[in-house]
Each structure stands twice: as structure tokens, then as C-alpha cells.
């Protein structure tokens, strides 16, 4: 075994899930199974990715293959680092407070208006949980009021 390139690319959770489900379907189609260690880790990983509050647990999925490029384009003016965008795609922060955890020194880099804008872009491109929309009703309303 030789490692040629330790990090060839970074994948988002969505891309990983996409690849694993494709592989699973292919196995089913060909009526065969992978090695047992692969089956175990894939089953556990899919379970992890599809448990609430992971955004990929939402059915039907709000993510589409081109939402990654769309989000990158929409967020480009804010000059976020690659890691921050990956975390946004993986966690889909639905409020300013949640966004604060994934963006470093957010208060110094962005003003309140920009923070709201980013949350709104994330909501538009990546969607949100319906149930949480009701539960967080007050919070979201407040956000929209300040924008209006």
C-alpha cells in the first residue's frame, strides 16, 4: 500500500451519500454483496447521514446535484473559506446562531445584515425542515420582518 495523495478532494455528506446509494443499487441490481466490512460501514454511515437533525434525513431530499455549485456561486461575494462552505452544506444552518458555529469570527467579518442574507441564501438553495419551520416560527418571522 502506498499513499499517492493524502487529500485528493473534499467531499460533502451529500456526495458521499449519493455515491453509497448508487453503489448499493448497483449491488442489488447485480444480485451480489460487497465484503462484510464494507456492508457494515456503509449501512452505519447511511444510518448516520439519514438521522435527524442531519439535513439529508429530510424526505424528499431538498438537495439536488447542482445545488452545490449554486450555493458556491451565491455565497461567493462573502469570501467564505472552503471548509466553511463544506460545513454549511453538511449542516445547513437555519439561523444566525447556527451559522455562528460554522463561520469563524463571524461577528467581526460580517455585519448583522450580511449574516441574515447568508442564512436566507442557505434556506433558498438548500431548503429547510418543515417541522422546524413551524417550531422556529417566531424566530424565522423575526428574521423576515427585519428584512422587509
Amino acid at each position: 500500500m502506498k499513499v499517492i495523495e493524502a487529500q485528493n478532494a473534499v467531499l460533502t455528506n451529500y456526495e458521499v451519500l449519493q455515491h453509497l446509494s448508487q453503489q448499493k443499487n448497483l449491488y442489488k441490481l447485480r444480485k451480489r454483496r460487497g465484503p462484510p466490512n464494507l456492508e457494515t460501514v456503509v449501512r452505519e454511515l447511511i444510518q448516520y447521514l439519514q438521522s435527524y437533525p442531519n439535513p439529508l434525513s429530510q424526505k424528499p431530499s431538498a438537495y439536488t446535484p447542482n445545488c452545490i455549485s449554486q450555493l458556491l456561486e451565491r455565497l461567493s461575494p462573502y469570501e467564505l473559506s472552503k471548509g466553511e462552505v463544506v460545513m454549511i452544506l453538511n449542516l445547513r444552518p437555519a439561523s444566525v446562531a447556527a451559522l455562528n458555529t460554522v463561520i469563524e469570527e463571524m461577528a467581526e467579518r460580517f455585519n448583522d445584515e450580511q449574516q441574515e442574507e447568508m442564512v436566507n441564501i442557505i434556506l433558498e438553495v438548500l431548503g429547510q425542515f418543515e417541522a422546524s419551520a413551524n417550531a422556529n416560527g417566531n424566530e424565522d418571522d423575526a428574521g423576515e420582518d427585519t428584512n422587509a
Binding site: M1, K2, V3, I4, E5, A6, Q7, N8, A9, V10, L11, T12, N13, E15, V16, H19, L20, Q23, G34, P35, N37, L38, T40, V41, V42, E44, L45, Q47, Y48, S51, Y52, P53, N54, G83, V86, M87, N90, L91, A94, A97, A98, N100, T101, V102, E104, S132, A135, N136
Partner: protein, 193 residues
Amino acid sequence: MFILTKFSDLVQISPEDFSKHSIVAIEDNINAKYANKVVQKIGLCISLYDVLWTSEGLIGHGTGLVNVNVEFRMIVFRPFKGEVMLGRIRSSTPSGIHLRTDFFDDIFVPYEELPQGAEYNHSEQIWIWNFDEERLFYDNHEMVRFQVIDEEWHDQTPAGPTAAEDTPAKTPYKIKGSMAAEGLGVCLWWDGA
């Protein structure tokens, strides 16, 4: 959270696999060797992503094995420092909280990385965060958000007869997390309110 790592390795296809297509035999071989295993300083390998190149199959003297040199990419679990992830509380001890995800068990949040005002309840064996006169509980199996701050690697290659035999094996890859910052900790506290 996931990266692609490029490896090259020698794959040996045994004669009973000759009925499979070569590419399928190679895939199975690689997955059997790497999936769900930790490669030191790389991370936890999940699954083969794609095969980039293979050599001709060569049969050596004495065995019927077909030897193929393969270059391929693996999906690897390797969260970067500072990444925020979801996990579940596995157990709590006075030294901190053990977290797990469904596929990876070795995540530890030491007590100094819990928010100020956190205390350990010995009778319940859980941590409690006293915040504005409210008592918030780090219950077992609760989904939490945490930030990766450090990682620890322990090579499990046998060290030879000099090493004492009864030393327990250390986990090959351990993640150290933090829940001190605002927005981290039990998801319900932040999302439900």
C-alpha cells in the same frame, strides 16, 4: 468530513474469483482490505470511490494468483480541525463526555472543553450545564453538535516481542472535540427554542 485519498496497491486476485469480471474482483479485493479500517494519518476508510489505473494481470511462479497494480481513490472519514459535526452522547465520566456517530465511536470531549458552569452529577452520571439558573442536561443518546479540535493516532502495527503482551491496544484514531462555543452542545437547546 469526508475526503478522497489516492492510493496505489498490489491487488492479488485468487483463482476462485476468476469467474467475476476483473473490475469487480479488484473492487471487492480493495473494499475487503480497506473498508471500515483506519490508515494512520489518513483516516477511516469507507469505500472505494473509483479506480484510476490498473496494470496487466501477472501470474507469478508457484501460485495461481493474478497480481495487478492498481491506483484508486477511497472515500475517507477525516474531519478537519475546527469542523463542526453531529454526534451522539455515548457515556459521561468526571473527565468528560464520550461521543459516537453510528460508524465511528472514538470521540471524546474533555471536561475543560465544556461550557462554563458545567458540573458532573455523580449519582446520575451525567454532565449538567447551569446556565442562567437553568439546568440543562447532557443526557445519554442525545444528539449534540461539537467541534473537532484535535486528533490522536496510535499505530497498531505489532512492535515485536519487546513490548509487554498485556498492554491494552489503543484505539488507532481518536478525535478530541469541544462543546464550549456558543451554538455547540445538545441540538435541542439551540434548534427547539
